[in-house]
């Protein structure tokens, strides 16, 4: 699904997440004190209030928690249908990413499907999209 995407404005809090794909890494904020993950990224651990937090590369695999097949063209350049999903990351408990599931038929996607990250670069942003891991 190519075409126009709204891109995030990069700042000190979100840059690691949106640019980690340049090194092939999906980076989620991690707490050194309680081993918890924090998303959206902030300089505080939401589990223990520690400030000992830093972006950490995770495996980039996960499970489709839920999804929808979007049919509506929200702007004229949008190519439809496409799959929107919420992916639960394997090694960052409690963190979900809204994303697109690509490289498969839209009707093939289901809750529970295993997926892995695929980065799509647009300008200085590396969007973490996901594709199904064929079993």
């Amino acid at each position: 699904m190519a075409g126009h995407r709204a891109l995030p404005r990069l700042d000190s809090q979100n840059r690691a997440f949106w640019t980690g794909g340049a090194e092939g890494e999906l980076r989620i904020m991690h707490c050194a004190d309680c081993d918890g993950y924090i998303h959206p990224p902030r300089p505080i651990c939401r589990h223990c209030l520690s400030e000992q937090v830093a972006p950490r590369a995770v495996s980039g695999t996960g499970v489709i928690d839920t999804f929808t097949v979007n049919h509506q063209k929200w702007h004229p350049a949008m190519e439809v249908p496409f799959v929107l999903a919420r992916v639960a990351l394997d090694d960052a408990p409690g963190v979900y990413l809204t994303t697109n599931i690509i490289n498969c038929d839209v009707e093939a996607v289901d809750i529970g499907d295993r997926v892995r990250v695929v980065f799509e670069q647009q300008d200085d942003v590396y969007l973490p999209l996901f594709e199904r891991i064929e079993s």
């Binding site: 995030p8 404005r9 929808t68 049919h71």
Partner: protein, 386 residues
């Protein structure tokens, strides 16, 4: 000075439509005038104003009038006021007003919600939409993936009901079919043509499992509720409706990080504030900006078990005007228009006073539930006529 209870006294509503020529501040005035007349109050007796989400300059159609402007425009002498989006959804503005009158900070508070999304789209010179090169804040986590509408976010919760509990489109359709059937009996409803199951099932999909008729439409309207202190009821001539319980919550303030929707804890919390139980409720007015939200409110409020909302409304008889739990008797947002939360409280008062005309539910209704939101934000009000 304090009073133990808060009441909704006067209610008012402007014309409801699309691309109305009347400016949003004047629509607000229309609703204020009707509410004052309904309550038997003069504007000089109003000493508070509460609104959601306040004036939103970058999306004027979404919220063109703020509390500041209304107070000055109508010459209100306010001893308390509030307006903003950082509250547990639209009817959170009513909770704020009730809290203020209970604390003795004001006696009669105008609560209002004015929407002008259709009118603004038609007149971009007057109501410009600001476009930024980049997105930030919460929308950065969804917009880059073209999840550009709340429809896409609600659809993902709805899909879990489809997959986990077997909810069908035919079941979900009953929210829209019921709303549209009731809207035909509401002279102010925006959509007054009936909707059949065949039309619903043939409708184009927006974001599965939601179709066109599961989503509300841009509307121009203003709705006003006057919240009054219990010890100020001597000022009014209308039948007051007591705010018997109120609850609200936020789940991560995020559509994708929340494990589940905010209406579930809110619904449970509502019953902790009161001796009333779901069995006492005569009618429910449940937020249906998207049909699925109303279905989940039925579960959240304990009218059925979690996951059984689809079966509960199947066939539609139970939630019809003459059913055991009449739902969205004014048409809901899917029929009456996107009044954005306030319509549900307005209609609760209409029904509890027996003023519904052709759409009045039978019997002697005394207890109603009105809700707003349902995703990451939720508010529920229990209203009682004593």
């Amino acid at each position: 000075m304090s009073s133990t209870d808060a009441y909704i006294t006067g209610i008012g509503q402007s014309e409801v439509g699309m691309k109305l020529p009347r400016a949003p501040l004047l629509l607000t005035l229309d609703a204020v005038r009707e509410a004052l007349a309904d309550a038997g109050l003069d504007i000089s007796q109003i000493d508070g104003v509460s609104t959601y989400p306040g004036r939103v300059p970058q999306m004027l159609g979404f919220s063109p009038v703020g509390a500041d402007e209304l107070i000055d425009a109508l010459g209100i002498r306010a001893t308390w006021y509030a307006g903003g989006g950082e509250i547990s959804s639209q009817l959170g503005a009513v909770v704020a007003a009730a809290t203020a009158v209970k604390a003795g900070l004001a006696r009669h508070v105008i609560c209002f919600r004015t929407v002008y999304e259709a009118g603004a789209m038609a007149n971009p010179d007057e109501y410009p939409m600001s476009r930024r090169d980049r997105v930030d804040g919460a929308s950065q986590w969804t917009a880059p993936f073209n999840a550009l509408s709340a429809a896409c976010w609600v659809a993902q919760y709805a899909m879990r009901h489809v997959k986990r509990y077997g909810m069908t489109r035919e079941q979900l359709a009953q929210i829209a079919l019921t709303g549209r059937a009731h809207a035909r009996l509401n002279p102010r409803a925006m959509v007054r043509e009936p909707l059949s199951m065949d039309e619903y099932m043939a409708a184009r999909l927006i974001s599965t499992p939601l179709c066109l008729f599961d989503c509300d439409r841009y509307t121009d309207a203003s709705t006003v509720l006057i919240v009054s202190a219990g010890d100020a009821l001597g000022d009014v001539t209308c039948t007051p409706v007591r705010l018997a319980a109120m609850a609200g919550s936020v789940e991560r303030h995020s559509w994708d990080q929340a494990e589940w929707m905010a209406n579930y804890p809110t619904g449970a919390d509502l019953w902790k504030q009161t001796d009333y139980t779901p069995a006492d409720v005569d009618t429910v007015q449940l937020y249906d900006g998207f049909s699925f939200l109303a279905l989940t409110w039925l579960e959240a409020l304990g009218f059925c078990e979690v996951g059984e909302g689809g079966q509960f409304i199947e066939g539609g008889k139970r939630i019809a005007l003459d059913g055991e739990l009449p739902l969205n008797t004014f048409g809901g947002q899917l029929g009456a228009g996107r009044l954005h939360g306030f319509g549900f409280a307005h209609e609760s008062v209409v029904q509890l006073r027996g003023q519904g005309g052709e759409r009045q539910i039978p019997g002697d209704p005394r207890v109603a539930v009105a809700t707003s939101g349902g995703g990451p934000l939720a508010t529920a009000l229990l209203l009682a006529r004593d």
